[in-house]
């Protein structure tokens, strides 16, 4: 009897692990930033390079920090969702134009629409490294105190907006 039970058990264990493996997302690396202050930066604005933006300017409000680039294909898929999101709800979205040419980025916003309150430039990718960015697009949710509360890797879908972002923003808005 044992002769049959042992292989069966081994098979079940293997099947469970393989099954779990199917649902793992190797691209989703847990961010060490959750509940930590958003790293400082002082970056030129895309539409007005002489002006700079720092996270301190945004203290007291809940904001999304969306990493995008005109060369990024998934950003193109995400863009209409963000446009819709910004149009329908009073949400502050700051764009981090990552390793991009300013001219390309401006053309992109002109032709596809601009969901961002402000976009800042990170041509050398230094702010990206500070935020642990490894795959564009990425979206951070930052609370009123300037703490990172959530990080989304990959394009935001309409479902993500409804199921993740809206409830989270409502919760963070309610915090003092």
């Amino acid at each position: 009897m044992l002769k049959y039970i042992i292989p069966l058990l081994l098979f079940i264990i293997l099947a469970v692990f393989l099954g779990l493996g199917l649902n793992l997302k190797p691209n989703d690396i847990p961010s060490p930033f959750i509940n930590k202050p958003a790293p400082e930066f002082s970056a030129p604005k895309l539409n007005a390079p002489e002006q700079k933006l720092t996270p301190a300017d945004l203290k007291g409000q809940v904001w999304l920090f969306n990493v995008w680039a005109s060369w990024c294909v998934s950003c193109r898929a995400e863009h209409p969702i963000l446009n819709q999101f910004a149009k329908q709800y009073a949400v502050v979205i700051i764009g981090l134009n990552y390793k991009d040419e300013p001219e390309d980025a401006k053309t992109w916003l002109k032709t596809l629409g601009n969901p961002y309150n402000v976009s800042i430039m990170d041509q050398e990718g230094r702010i990206g490294i500070d935020y642990g960015v490894y795959g564009v697009p990425e979206t951070f949710v930052i609370d009123k105190k300037g703490l990172i509360r959530y990080k989304h890797t990959g394009p935001v879908s309409a479902e993500d907006v409804q199921k993740i972002f809206l409830p989270l923003i409502a919760k963070l808005e309610a915090e003092s």
Binding site: P32, I129, Y134
Partner: protein, 156 residues
């Protein structure tokens, strides 16, 4: 001969590293640079170190390591800087901690389980190999024959 040579060249090209001309003046720092870039993972490609990869992020991370070494930062500082931003995952050699302990223990555990299996299999084989002619359920004549055959076998 030519196709073989061609294949050999291909293999060499697979192993070559990303183009990197950075050179630090201090040989000790250069050594740190080389160890660090071989220990940090390129997060976009996942199974390459930043020394191996030509991805944009890998080259940015190499630049970061280079600049921090120039500023006189230690290897520990740089590893801390990277794990603060990218988490343990950025390290090819994760530190021994609660979350990663399974990674370190599992190979030893599997080796142990393998050795135990081998041990039990051998023991069982031995037990079945030593049989006693007297307890065999056969006629006494046949038992005699087996004994004489076994003795002959021992003598030859």
């Amino acid at each position: 001969m030519k196709p073989i040579l061609f294949i050999m060249l291909l293999v060499i090209s697979i192993n070559s590293h990303a183009v990197d001309s950075r050179q630090l003046s201090d040989p000790k720092q250069q050594e740190s640079y080389e160890t660090l870039t071989k220990e940090l993972r390129c997060l976009v490609c996942q199974n390459q170190t930043i020394a191996d990869s030509n991805a944009e992020l890998a080259s940015d991370l190499r630049r970061q390591v280079y600049e921090m070494l120039q500023q006189g930062k230690s290897e520990q500082d740089i590893i801390g800087y990277m794990t603060d931003r990218y988490g343990e995952f950025v390290l090819y050699k994760p530190a021994f901690a609660g979350k990663t302990s399974l990674l370190w223990i599992a190979p030893v555990l599997f080796l142990f389980m393998g050795l135990m299996t081998v041990f039990f299999v051998i023991r069982r084989k031995r037990a079945t190999a030593q049989f006693n002619v007297d307890t065999l359920d056969i006629t006494p004549e046949k038992q005699k024959k087996i004994r004489s055959l076994l003795e002959k076998g021992e003598l030859s």
